[in-house]
Amino acid sequence: MRLEAKNVSFRYGAGGRKILNDLSIYVDEGERVGIVGPSGYGKSTLAKLLAGYLPPESGEILLDGKPLPDKGVCPVQLIYQHPEKAINPRWRMRQVLEESESLNDEMLEKLGIEKQWLTRFPRELSGGELQRFCVARSLFQGTRFLIADEMSTMLDVITQAQLWNVVLEEAESRNMGLIVVTHNAHLAERVCTRVIDLSTINSI
């Protein structure tokens, strides 16, 4: 299985500046690709395009040669940088995991999620604790590609290491494709099999 961006261009709004220009990248299953580059070079935008959150202005996003599914469960999942925005503030944490049917003891244990957190509201947990839930929510059975958009930037180093260990282990065992969007070149080198520098391939 291959996730592919073919000659995509993108700009925000009709008259906006071009963020991505005729960009092509691909990720195969089992591969871990890092996307690095300075701020404003379209890393997060590319992540949203690849996950189907935004439609490209031109070009196409293909999963196994076909466009991403419009409806239903998407096999490409995105983890945001700010977990507190990615969780409904009026839901208890149990509901968050139930939404993707990824509430199982094994996953909770791996990610270090304590049982008592499940009955809490998001504002009663810290950023690192919330991000564990976001990771657990994205790692349901149907996920084939996981895009981590600055997933660990906000977290302390111990939590970072914990989360990455779980994600790498899962990617390995499921032969899942992983896209790591980060401005931290060291992290990309450490966890990825291949690193793409957006500033060299995105000519804007």
């Binding site: 469960v73 998407c74 999942q77 925005k85 939404e99």
Partner: protein, 293 residues
């Protein structure tokens, strides 16, 4: 208590007095809620329990000033004004509850439809809101009530049709903002349908707006009912609604029967003020940011 026994804090303020001043909003709201619930229940019960005999015509007791036997006095036909006021209140409250409930539910439905539907529907709803808001409520209610052939039905429709606008606009804006939230986008990618997202993600966020909107609509509805009835376009004169009582009392004010207008008017104003306070307090508790605007 002499000066020595008054306990003072560091700033020299009387501790007992500051404590009394600092009853917080939560406590106040709870007290208000209990008070209003008691008033509403007793008015409704009174409306049911007070027999027609109590408000029967009795010329022997006509034009009496307030006394222990007749706390609000009696009118020119000897009817006990207290019983009549309570009956009137129960009618007003029923009208208020029904009309504002219809209005609030309509507001939520219309607001959500405008925010999630097509662009044309959204513009139409906005145009409709501007239209209804542009015409003075009283005029619109009178027109609708009149064309429905006076009486309870016309009044209810009139009040329900005119009061949904501001809440609908609020709900529309809220839903539009919610729809752009990340967790909604995530939910969509987890394969959830629009309907599922509406019910599970968006509707629970509307509950506070709905409750506050409903409670703030309530006093408006009561006042409009009373004023339309007062002007003679609402309830028929046989029904002792507050508006009717006030309107009838006008003829007798100049002959010194002040109690005919004073007590019914006072109870109406008190209930409206209580409800308005409750609504404002709830708004502050539930949504402190927008309440400050």
């Amino acid at each position: 208590m002499n000066e020595l026994t008054i306990r003072r804090n560091k700033a020299g303020q009387n501790i007992k007095e500051t404590r009394r001043k600092k009853m917080n909003r939560r406590t106040k709201t709870v007290i208000l809620t209990v008070l209003i619930a008691a008033v509403i229940v007793s008015a409704l019960l009174a409306g049911l329990l007070i027999s027609d005999e109590a408000v029967a015509i009795d010329f022997a007791n006509a034009k009496q000033k307030p006394s222990f036997e007749h706390p609000f006095g009696t009118d020119w036909m000897g009817r006990d004004l207290f019983a009549r006021t309570m009956k009137g209140l129960s009618i007003s409250i029923t009208v208020g509850v029904v009309a504002s409930a219809i209005s609030a539910v309509a507001a939520v439905l219309i607001g959500i439809a405008a925010a999630t539907g097509s662009k044309a529907l959204d513009s139409f709803v906005n145009w409709l809101i501007d239209l209804v808001m542009g015409v003075p409520h009283l005029v619109l209610i009178i027109l609708i009530s009149f064309s429905c052939g006076r009486g309870l039905k016309g009044l209810l429709i009139g009040i329900a049709v005119t009061h949904w606008t501001s809440l609908a606009r609020l709900i529309r804006a809220e839903v539009l903002q919610l729809r752009s939230e990340q967790y909604i986008a995530v939910s969509r990618k987890l394969g959830k349908s629009n309907r599922w997202i509406l019910v599970k993600h968006i509707l629970p966020h509307m509950i506070p707006q709905f409750v506050v909107g409903l409670i703030l609509m309530f006093p408006h509805a009561i006042l409009h009912e009373a004023s339309v009835s007062f002007l003679g376009y609402g309830l028929p004169p046989e029904q002792p609604a507050i508006g009717i009582i006030l309107s009838e009392s006008m003829k007798y004010l100049s002959s010194g029967m002040w109690w005919l207008a004073f007590f019914p008017g006072l109870t109406l104003v008190l209930i409206v003020i209580l409800l308005d306070h409750l609504g404002d307090n709830l708004k502050m508790l539930i949504d402190p940011y927008s309440a400050q605007e």
